[in-house]
Amino acid sequence: MTDHKDHERARQMLALGDAGQLPALDHAWLDRHLEACATCRAFAQDAADVVRALRSIPVAADRTLVAATQMRVRQRARELRQREERMWLVAISCVAVTLTAVVTNLACWRGFNWLVERTHVSDIAWPIAFVAFFIVPVLAASVLLLAKGTHLADHNR
């Protein structure tokens, strides 16, 4: 005796059986069911036909598509490689600038120290002079750029 649930179960197993997902017990149950049920046997045959047909549908990529894709991929690979090389250059430059700044600061600090010892300037004055030595050019440049920007803004009005 088979009921609707048995048919449903058998059909599910038939659909997935090809995937090797069925345990031995289920296989045995399915075999027994198929012996007794002509409808499910027909479904099994239909499913096998469909699977065969699906596997024989010919879809081919043409040579032009493959060649065009390979060319695009190679070009993009080149671009990415160039970008990586540029990034390396930027990174190396950053490291070089940092090292130079450290060395320069150290040298300037010692230079100021030496000058202070020679000229007997007070202990408070020389660090201020040291900071000013670095900051004044930046401040001057900022003021100039600001003035130029304001001038241009006024000029364009």
Partner: protein, 186 residues
Amino acid sequence: MVDEKTEIAQGLRRRDPDLLDRLIEQYQHRLLRYLLSLTRNRATAEDLFQETWIRVLERGHQYDGKHEFSTWLFSVSRHLVIDFFRRKQPASLDALLDDEDQPMAPPASGEPSAFDRVAHRELSERIAVGLDHVAYEYREALVLRFQEGLSLDEIAVVTGAPLGTVKSRVYRGLSALEPWMKGIQA
């Protein structure tokens, strides 16, 4: 001895152009067939074919070499298809995929499809036309399972769906093709 998956993963990390050339050659038909089954349009499928390989080049370092390369490749192309449909349609593809119970279109004849142009045998033609009328998620499951030969677990990885859902899609997909099965027998 380095196995093939590890070799591919290492090559992709190096962005080795020779390896990519070889992979494009090797997977050309399978990838195009999968894209055609999703888009049902040859021109769109070919555009996405190229985009997929560019994405493989750019994100190659994400391939871990543990899964089959084809599984990862299909997953990459699937995301591109979803992006494509999101740009093209107001309703996203995910919304379509979430609807497991959407009604299947009735069999129709004479409607041109991508498969019509490539299927030569009558039997395959019928099923190809039938596939065109099967709901998207069932069609994808059928194509991955029976055309591309992926296991159910691999399909679950590609589609991001639970294994139970994948099984259900394969079963429902085959059932949806039943009218065309009968056509085969007639």
